[in-house]
């Protein structure tokens, strides 16, 4: 019945030119909301171009094609590719262990595996350097960034593995393929879109990170940008570097799009009816304990080691002490600002994610790409753009909470978009169609069907943005309300004065605060499995 009706609409639309059709198929309100979000995200780019061309196009070309620029580009590229590759391997392996294997303490590990996201690279980098000075250089940045950002890959892949269509895998097994071949032939291809999205986040993160490369003395593009800003008045070269970075990010996004495109077609092969069944547990056998020990090793390097060093700072330094009032105040500020940024980011991500997951078109793809911009640029670039525009357009918000929260949302929007999109894509679209066929309009359908279905994705998005915002420094320094300190700014102040012991409680609290969203993410994933278990038994 529905199919017939659909076909009628389609034949009618064929009479119009193709692009009109494409446009008409997009829901008006969602598209308008998506465009509005994109306009906000593009503010920093506008500012960047304005600054870059301050001394004319000749200077831009001269700087963009300088020898140093080429060198920085090469070094940044090597770092981005290697870190992403290792994150891909670790992230997929962790996701598979947590979702499909019988590794001991599976759920606890699942929650712990997300925690390294909460460790600021400043802390991790200082920790490694203090015991192993020789690690400085490429090896050090590679280690710190890999250990800190593999969850970017793991989380979406975990979600994909949970919701993936198991029937294809079962078919492969029944056709005589062993578990290993099935994994590489079917499972890996099935998670390719998720893995590609995670890799994109990782790569953009590496492009924009400052703390790890600067501590490890490995010069990247972002270091060049900071150096130009720190030589204050020289904003033009910094802006030109920023523009180059945006171009690089655009190329990476096109590559990701291709990887995802092919995989998405593959992923569309559905044997079942859209209701995914509970994934079968693959016994690890003899590999069980080595895998467990490997996981512990990973967690030890990514969380245990930095935490241990911070505790040692606390014990050995003379500046240690608890300024209770200050600790409460900075913690409260961190929670308040980061949660605000996280909620706003998810709200802004929603129209873009729905369009990307449900209404594939050039426009929705472009909107999604634009939303990634904030992640690729160094935070100081975004922060200064918000200073420039904020004080002129919304002076009442300048150096007040709303503008800081908005900057967080722009900086970390892609994290929310990826999570929410994955959440929506995992829910069967047929439910929304049923709602519409029952006469509910688009908005009601989204409110009552799409959002509840996407809750695990939304929760993951909130958590990811929260984690990232809590450890953000450069934009926070520029935009926070005067006099309001966060855990991260306090850590920065104290370590600058070499008061490591005094900074330790703030570092530990930051981890503790970030453990809450990590727990929510972990629970969100585990919850889905439980529900499915219940449903399956009930169906039986």
């Amino acid at each position: 019945m529905f199919q017939l009706a659909n076909r009628d609409v389609r034949t009618e639309r064929r009479r119009l030119p193709r692009w009109v059709n494409r446009f008409r198929r997009l829901p008006l309100l969602l598209t308008a909301a998506g465009l509005a979000v994109a306009a906000i995200v593009l503010v920093p780019l506008y500012h960047l171009i304005l600054r870059a061309f301050e001394r004319g196009p000749g200077y831009v070309l001269e700087m963009a094609f300088s020898e140093r620029n080429a060198e920085l580009l090469w070094r940044t590229g090597v770092l981005a590719v290697t870190v992403t590759a290792s994150c891909l391997v670790i992230g997929v392996a962790c996701a598979w262990l947590i979702t499909r294997s019988d590794i001991p303490f599976r759920r606890t590990l699942g929650v712990l595996f997300t925690l390294p996201l909460a460790v600021p690279s400043l802390v991790a980098g200082s920790a490694w350097l203090s015991v192993w000075p020789g690690i400085a250089g490429f090896g050090g940045v590679f280690l710190v960034l890999t250990l800190g950002s593999y969850p970017f890959v793991m989380l979406p892949v975990m979600a994909a593995l949970r919701s993936g269509d198991i029937a294809t895998e079962e078919a492969a097994r029944s056709l005589g393929k062993g578990p290993v071949r099935t994994f590489f032939l079917v499972t890996v291809r099935g998670v390719r879109p998720a893995a590609a999205a995670g890799s994109l986040l990782t790569m953009l993160y590496v492009l924009g990170d400052f703390a790890a490369p600067s501590l490890m003395r490995y010069e990247t593009f972002t270091i060049g940008i900071f150096a130009s800003y720190r030589g204050a008045f020289d904003r033009t070269p910094a802006a030109i570097f920023g523009c180059v970075l945006v171009l690089v990010a655009a190329i990476i996004m096109i590559m990701e799009r291709r990887a995802r495109g092919k995989a998405a077609r593959f992923g569309q092969i559905r044997v079942g009816k859209g209701v995914s069944s509970r994934p079968p547990v693959v016994p690890l056998g003899r590999a069980k304990w080595p895998a467990f020990i490997g996981s512990l090793g990973l967690l030890g390097g990514a969380i245990g080691f930095p935490v241990g060093i911070v505790i040692q700072w606390f014990i050995s330094g003379s500046s240690r002490g608890f300024d209770m009032e200050r600790i409460v105040e900075t913690t409260a500020n961190t929670l308040w600002f980061s949660a605000g940024g996280a909620l706003l980011a998810v709200v802004m991500a929603f129209p873009i994610a729905v369009l990307a997951a449900r209404h594939d078109s050039t426009l929705s793809r472009s909107l999604e790409s634009v939303s990634y911009l904030g992640h690729a640029l160094p935070a100081i670039t975004i922060g200064l753009a918000f200073v420039f525009v904020g004080i002129r357009v919304v002076p009442g918000w300048y150096q007040q909470t709303p503008l800081l929260v908005l900057a967080y949302a722009v900086l970390f929007l892609p994290l929310a978009v990826v999570a929410v999109r994955a959440g929506i894509a995992a829910a069967p679209a047929s439910l929304e169609e049923v709602s519409r066929s029952l006469g509910k309009n688009g908005i009601i359908t989204h409110l009552r069907v799409t959002i509840p279905l996407a809750i695990p994705g939304v929760a993951a998005g909130v958590a990811l943005v929260f984690l990232s915002a809590a450890k953000e420094l450069p934009a926070t320094l520029l935009l926070r309300p005067t006099g309001a300190n966060t855990l991260t700014t306090e850590m920065w102040t104290l370590t600058n004065r070499m008061m490591f012991a005094a900074s330790a409680p703030y570092a530990l609290l930051l981890l503790l605060v970030s453990a809450i969203p990590a727990l929510v993410m972990g629970l969100a994933v585990i919850e889905r499995k439980k529900k499915r278990e219940g449903k399956q038994k009930w169906q039986m």
């Binding site: 204050a232 105040e329 605000g340 200064l384 420039f388 520029l478 102040t493």
Partner: protein
């Protein structure tokens, strides 16, 4: 079985609820922000909160003038004011090095200080156009690890560092404002050509590039480099934090008018657009008062700029032996040129 599912759903919803209610609780605890208070004097401070907070509190108590202090990185605050333009909420700009003030002055954002303030400090700690005065100064020293190198082998001038003997053994932080300020002094003392030559020679000598003074010091302690150019007070502060027996490096002052000896000045200025010029001047007078200068000497371990004040517990090499900053410092201190030179040498 369906019941089980409902119960489990609860855990997730309660976790989400916890996450949403936490910030609500936080809102109650979060400090009321003072940013939009029109009666307060807004200070952008590139100097660390812990180093100057007590002085600011004392000032508020003494004068009844309320301060809104925004702390940040000196150079990033300069960028911030440049982006804010004339709308900047800042009344006073207090910085670790004066290059940033000069850049703001070029754009016309800085007011001229009145004579009675300029008269409080020696000429070497101010600029002829009266756009800033120094509040304290830091010496540049060669940091070294006594276990790896003997005092007798240490260089006695900046030029020695370019010799093959020091290849790969020197740590510098070219992106750090104190190194850039040192270079500006170098230019004032030796001229641009000699400075560029020195930079090129240093770059060719394979130095280890660090992000800041603190990182250089760690590098010295751990033997990554043998010597490094840093500010003098880090040594004193580290002894305070870790105890003398746990500090594995020492400082070497280069005397006799060498470029390394030129002190780096922490300066202060008033923004042209400020509606509170008088209050701003009061703050500067306070920072130049005997009380505040004694504080810089004793607590932040810097050199006071006002005559007749001595540190009560640090034994510093007297400024007079290090060489005074040339008066032309202000004129050459166009950072843009300094940065260009750093870029030409491939160090930035």
């Amino acid at each position: 079985m369906a019941k089980v599912a409902v119960e489990k759903k609860w855990t997730l919803s309660s976790a989400c609820a916890a996450m949403i209610s936490l910030p609500a609780l936080a809102a109650c605890g979060a400090t009321a922000t003072q940013g939009d208070d029109d009666d307060a004097l807004t200070v952008y401070s590139g100097r660390s909160e812990g180093n100057v907070e007590e002085l600011f509190e004392q000032f508020e108590e003494d004068t009844g003038i309320e301060l809104d202090v925004r702390y940040g990185d000196s150079a990033e605050l300069t960028s911030q004011i440049l982006e804010e333009g004339e709308a900047t909420p800042a009344d006073v700009y207090f910085t670790l090095e004066v290059g940033g003030i000069n850049a703001l002055n070029d754009q016309g954002y800085i007011a001229t200080l009145p004579d009675h303030i300029l008269e409080m400090v020696p000429e070497s700690f101010q600029v002829p156009d009266g756009s800033w005065v120094g509040t304290a100064a830091r010496a540049r020293v060669i940091g070294y690890n006594p276990e790896n190198i003997s005092v007798d082998d240490l260089p006695e001038s900046a030029y020695e560092l370019t010799e093959p003997e020091w290849e790969g053994r020197l740590g510098i932080a070219p992106s750090n404002s104190s190194f850039q300020a040192f270079l500006s002094g170098f230019r004032a003392l030796e001229g641009d050509e000699a400075t560029q030559q020195w930079l090129n020679d240093i770059a060719a000598n394979d130095p280890e590039i660090f992000d800041n003074n603190r990182a250089i010091i760690e590098g010295i302690e751990q033997g990554v480099v043998d010597v490094g150019l840093v500010n003098h007070y880090y040594h004193i502060r580290q002894i305070e934090e870790d105890g003398e027996e746990n500090v594995d490096w020492d400082t070497h002052y280069v005397t006799g008018g060498d470029p390394i000896g030129i002190p780096v000045i922490a300066g202060i200025s008033v923004l042209e657009g400020s509606q509170m010029q008088e209050e701003a001047h009061e703050l500067i007078e306070f920072l130049l008062s005997e009380e505040a200068q004694q504080y810089f000497a004793d607590e932040t371990h810097e050199y006071p700029v006002v005559d007749g004040i001595e540190s009560q517990h640090d034994e510093l090499v007297p400024l007079g032996e290090l060489g005074t900053p040339p008066v032309e410092l202000a004129e050459v201190a166009d950072m843009e040129r300094t940065l260009e030179m750093l870029r030409d040498a491939g160090l930035l």
